[in-house]
């Protein structure tokens, strides 16, 4: 028994070192997924962000993608083409423009294409914060009942399309 107590401190120390080493070398996860997955999309009314699209539809009754974007966001330009292809294949995409101005959104859409059915202007990021989004672009899969089913952080690249479409199909 005495011998055990002699070795115990060393044992504690080894456990400590192993824990620290494991935490240090574990791959760092810098993405912070929204905690709102499985929760209803907030019913906040957003004004129209573009001149030729109605204000954001908070309820649709059909599964859709909600794309959080901004005219000042560079990756959103790269994403616009992918979203355009998705919209052309019949996917419903609604947009939320973060901290934007209508003239800027109009210019952005005229230049990069407009895949959105409705676009809401989230001038003070209140909806963005309510859905737990921490940047642009982000895309949420929202089912027909308005429940958030999936969150894609960052732009949707052609490589991500299959996953997003699968999640959308699951939400239908």
């Amino acid at each position: 028994v005495k011998r055990f107590w002699l070795w115990a401190p060393l044992g504690v120390f080894v456990v400590f070192v192993l824990t620290v080493a494991w935490s240090l070398y574990r791959p760092d996860d810098r993405l912070h997924p929204s905690k709102m997955i499985g929760q209803p999309f907030p019913a906040t009314a957003l004004a129209a962000a573009a001149s030729d699209r109605p204000p954001f539809a908070a309820k649709t009754g059909e599964a859709r993608l909600v794309n959080v974007f901004a005219s000042w966001c560079v990756p959103c330009i790269a994403e616009a083409r992918v979203l355009g292809d998705l919209a052309a294949s019949g996917v419903r995409i609604d947009g939320v423009a973060i901290r934007d101005k209508r003239a800027d959104v109009d210019r952005f859409l005229a230049k990069n294409g407009n895949p959105y059915r409705t676009i809401g202007l989230d001038a003070d990021s209140s909806v963005q914060i309510a859905i737990g989004s921490s940047g642009v672009p982000e895309t949420f899969v929202v089912d027909g009942k308005g429940i958030i089913r999936f969150q894609h952080i960052g732009e949707i690249t052609p490589a991500d399309v299959d996953v997003v479409l699968a999640k959308l199909r699951e939400a239908r």
Partner: protein, 154 residues
């Protein structure tokens, strides 16, 4: 100092250089100009005009609340909550102004983003060892010290 006025300054010094006949003078000017370029680049880099954008600034993002007590509440919460989308401060001020309790706003933010968003550590199963381990160490230390003192007394 804006970029355009900086460029204009460069153009002006180039004109001077063109009109200077002596090569030595031109060389000196070039040196002065490069020093000026450095200084201006540094100045320009530090000036807010570079950060100016057409981005809509969220209301309350950079304005304090009129009520100092409420502003203090908002500030205290902002300092213990992660900068969400860097304009998240406006949301905090708006909610404080609407009479919401800071802890209720924190709970709202945690609901959206998880514990990660709050700098105030919570007590739950994952963090329990962090809270309890120091107590255990102190207790073990006291127990060991007690054993030592007893032996010495004898």
């Amino acid at each position: 100092m804006t970029i355009s006025s900086f460029l204009r300054g460069c153009a002006a010094s180039r004109e001077i250089a063109v009109f200077t006949r002596s090569r030595e003078a031109a060389k000196g000017l070039r040196f002065v100009r490069s020093i000026m370029f450095l200084a201006l680049a540094l100045l320009g880099g530090a000036s807010p005009s570079w950060a100016d954008s057409s981005m809509a600034v969220a209301p309350y993002a950079n304005t304090a609340l009129a009520d100092p007590a409420k502003e203090a509440e908002a500030k205290a919460l902002m300092e213990s909550v992660r900068c969400l989308v860097c304009q998240g401060r406006s949301l905090i001020r708006k909610r404080i102004a609407a009479g919401e309790q800071p802890e209720a706003i924190r709970a709202y933010l945690i609901r959206s983003y998880g514990d990660w968003v709050s700098y105030k550590p919570v007590f739950d199963w994952a963090t329990a060892p962090l809270w309890i381990a120091p107590l255990l160490f102190v207790m073990t230390g006291l127990w060991l010290a007690r054993g030592r003192f007893r032996r010495r007394k004898r």
